[in-house]
Symmetry: C2
Subunit: 182 residues, 2 copies
DNA sequence: ACCAGCATATATCGAACTGATATAGGCTCG
DNA sequence: CGAGCCTATATCAGTTCGATATATGCTGGT
């Protein structure tokens, strides 16, 4: 599932600029399961326009920079339908925190405490963000389903972290570590 | 958290070849929260050797190709410790399936049914894999913690999917779709 | 008996993507 | 009244993925 398809999926719902597509990824309906940077969105939109899957018009704004509003074409809608019918890629989960956690036993207690607290905070923030999206957007059924899936998992992650983070901190405390040598 | 640090983390635990590092990412203790391909592991190991953070020796084998066994150096251990002390990157979750699910309402019922079943199967397989890792490896405390975190989440994901996938399928069924036109 | 396919093992390359940076106008708040 | 932020587009270097190449031996099916 590449940035190209992501752009088509958002334009399928209605017009948008590159900037707005980015925002929808970071704080909108897709926030939970997609990420894309400007560095991939803008080139993707250019290429989609070249291929005739989207069209654009430049819109002047008072008090803000001019923006380039993209719309999907019939060819774009067809291409998106084809993408949805194609075999799906694998889900990906990467966690620097979990790599860190494996080595709690050789790390200073204070550091483990800090990182665990930061991680819990991230989980809480992310869950709140999903709750807000669910509350604000009068989203369609598919969006609600995805959002509920995300919220269920974030809730558990938060609960699990809260219940078990002290064990990680205890590991760090248990063995005196290299910190003493520094 | 880059491939470089991943390699150091695995070599910190003991000697390994590039191939073995890859395996540990795919089916070992890290399977849940890390992924890395040969295309990034081998170059990373070469660079680490150039920098003196790891050393290698070539080991002949009967019945198998020769392998290049890497070991971490003191400089490597120090570099790894520095990495662990540095601020952590963000956790990443990307799900082509959830992007697909948003559009269940415009998709043929059969396709949604197939993809939902495939997704459930993946979740079951992944959970089983984590259970196996937990059972086989007499892993250290940090590994057990990470594994339990992963298992808790996979279990919920599986349960949630099992309980709610029929809603997705119903969405597809509810509105007749473009499939009729094909 | 033989061959297809799979596991081990290293390596490279193009395409994709991230994260940082550049540019630029206008707004807000201390 | 200026620092910093928001909107907005764009590019670039570095990282990573996914596919492919190469080589060898084992295993299972016909």
């Amino acid at each position: 599932m590449n940035v190209r398809t992501l752009c088509l999926s958002i334009l399928f719902e209605g017009e948008a600029t590159g900037y707005e597509i980015r925002r929808k990824c970071v704080e909108g309906e897709c926030a939970y399961f997609i990420e894309a940077s400007f560095g991939s969105i803008y080139p993707a939109l250019n290429k989609l326009e070249q291929e005739g899957l989207v069209t654009s018009r430049t819109q002047q704004q008072s008090g803000k920079p001019a923006k380039k509003v993209y719309s999907i074409t019939d060819a774009g809608r067809a291409a998106f339908a084809d993408e949805l019918a194609a075999p799906l890629g694998e889900d990906v989960f990467r966690s620097p925190f979990l790599l860190f956690a494996r080595y709690a036993h050789i790390l200073p207690r204070e550091l483990v405490e800090t990182r665990a607290a930061e991680q819990l905070d991230k989980l809480v923030q992310d869950r709140k963000k999903l709750d807000n999206v669910a509350a604000e957007h009068g989203s369609k059924a598919g969006d609600t389903w995805v959002l509920n899936y995300g919220r269920a998992i974030m809730e558990l992650a938060e609960r699990h972290m809260r219940a078990h983070m002290h064990e990680l901190i205890t590991m760090a405390r248990a063995e005196p570590n290299k910190d003493a040598a520094e």
